[in-house]
Amino acid sequence: MTPPDANLPDRPDYVAVTYFKAPIERVRRVFTDPADQAINFGGKTEIGEVGERWIRHASDKWPAITGGVLAKEPAGCLVLTWGFDANPPPDHVEFLIEPAANGVTRVTIKQHHSRDWPEDLTNGALQGWNALLAGPKTLVETGTPLPAPF
């Protein structure tokens, strides 16, 4: 699938793929239902419409993460910019939810960094987005959420 936004760099810095043993509708709900989002994004999360902003509110351990909503099309695609402060740098994260064979759903996260990041920040960000894959997977496949790593 090609990026829905022509302005997106076409060479992501990081790609992670996982497969969910669940139908695509269920997996999509995990990323769009407000109750599920709170679990998966590690805290209360509000995602606006395209052109608006989104925010994962601060928790005890993590600062707020915020950014803009770039795209929600095609269905199962969510493209966000994000950063740890109120004026986030133009770093993109792209979620793609696609059907694979036999009722299995593939979720891809592509990260586009706008500049060279220090290693510790990159590692922290990767852990965060990886947790975003592990949380929904456990929830969808077992019905119970994974304890939040945040």
């Binding site: 992501p12 790609v15 793929v17 990767l126 990886n130 304890p147």
Partner: protein, 102 residues
């Protein structure tokens, strides 16, 4: 998980993962240039790694970019390394890296 272990049970494929870990988004040509393997061998090993989901790919025009996909290895770690032990394991890994680089 069988596919993952089978894919990892080969030194050449582990070298390919090392290469992708050091530098993301490599094309087949780039991967070949850094390793003493034929293009055909690299291509065959990449297919096995991709099937095991250890390598993810992104198409860019006619090129195919390769990425180390950390998810299967993270799943192995999650299965056998309990969360509260992890920081101790991390400390050991750091120590080992430090000692072996001296």
């Amino acid at each position: 998980m069988d596919l993952v272990f089978r894919a990892l049970a080969d030194e050449s494929r582990r070298c390919l993962l090392d290469s992708l870990s050091a530098k993301s988004a490599q094309t087949l040509a780039e991967l070949c240039s850094g390793l003493s393997m034929t293009r055909q061998a690299v291509s065959k090993h990449l297919a096995i790694l991709e099937e095991a989901n250890l390598v993810a790919t992104v198409r860019r025009g006619r090129e195919k970019l390769h990425y180390l996909n950390p998810v299967p290895i993270a799943e192995i770690a999650n299965r056998w390394i309990r969360k509260f032990e992890r920081h101790r394991v991390d400390a050991l890994v750091d120590l080992k890296r430090k000692l072996e680089s001296e």
